[in-house]
Symmetry: C2
Subunit: 218 residues, 2 copies
Amino acid sequence: MSETLQTPRTTVRRLAGRGSYDRELIHGILDEAFICHVGFVAGGAPVVIPTIHWREGETLYFHGSAASRMLRSMRDGAEVCVTVTLLDGLVLARSAFHHSMNYRSAVVIGRAREVTGEEKLRALTALVEHVCRGRSAEVRPPNEIELQQTLVLALPIEEASAKVRTGGAVDDEEDHALPVWAGVLPLRTVPQEPIADVRLDPAVAVPEYVKHYTRRGR
Amino acid sequence: MSETLQTPRTTVRRLAGRGSYDRELIHGILDEAFICHVGFVAGGAPVVIPTIHWREGETLYFHGSAASRMLRSMRDGAEVCVTVTLLDGLVLARSAFHHSMNYRSAVVIGRAREVTGEEKLRALTALVEHVCRGRSAEVRPPNEIELQQTLVLALPIEEASAKVRTGGAVDDEEDHALPVWAGVLPLRTVPQEPIADVRLDPAVAVPEYVKHYTRRGR
């Protein structure tokens, strides 16, 4: 299997030095993100909708109501562009022009297929595991009616790219003399104190995977 | 001025009860987010690119290299769909099916125009203020060459919608008996310790707006 996911359509054009087509890097970005933005064309116009995604091997999964416009477009074979962005920090330079952001983004393009039968159940189990590793064995699995109401789609991760900026401010040489603070303000998505359901049995402890929440891909 | 930004094209279809067209709510979501995902159609196919945006009044601004494919598409009058998503928490239910997320998203659709002259300078100042209130007076403003290299675009916030989920898990009545932890794991974007530039003059203190970083819209 090729390690690169570069195709003419996924070649990064702007700041190409930040571009990468490395399978492992792209998988890591997809795994760490909670949501993606799915772009599709509806009646000639662009539509961008946020949704949760998850990955198993070389496949990106999506799900939702069988009545969803986005999922119906995807199921009917429309081309989609799925973009995931992790913001890592604000880069503050001595000049307005050189301000920037540290980020890792991934773009996957292609056409999805509907997932059914055994793969559908497996994919929905993997979704719970993606959100909280270990939780799928505890919760009530989907019943027949819930499965019918849920559409699961699979997009092969075959054409993709990543774009990454890291590091500090890059100022013009002469601007270093300015008495202006420069540097990076790192940003992180941090879990806060869990809030138990009002009807939770007090005998049920907060699971370890909630208490010490960590992301796959980190 | 109408308080609603609802049009047939911005009417939320899925889980319509979560939809809103309230100008103030939409502005607040746009202001709090660091990045948006801009969707446009290129050669019939959808493209979704992350970028920074900022708002002044009823206008959403974007900027970047004059060579950017996204900005060129926008400048040439292509229709765009700009989506912003703030993830507020993971909602863990007793059944796999009822897992959800708390979020606030906004979608703005329309066509952009290029910004020039005085408005361009004002918009770029507002961008620095959007990232760090108070910083625009400290940094070196853009020079003529930098202004020429930068394209600034304005999208009127006239057709838009928001979608918001808040609150706890909504489980089926009979599932409350299950001995499964349920609740919300809130997520926040949290600034970490600032990292000073390696060449920073040690006499330059960390500004208050970096030390106690807060977002407009919060």
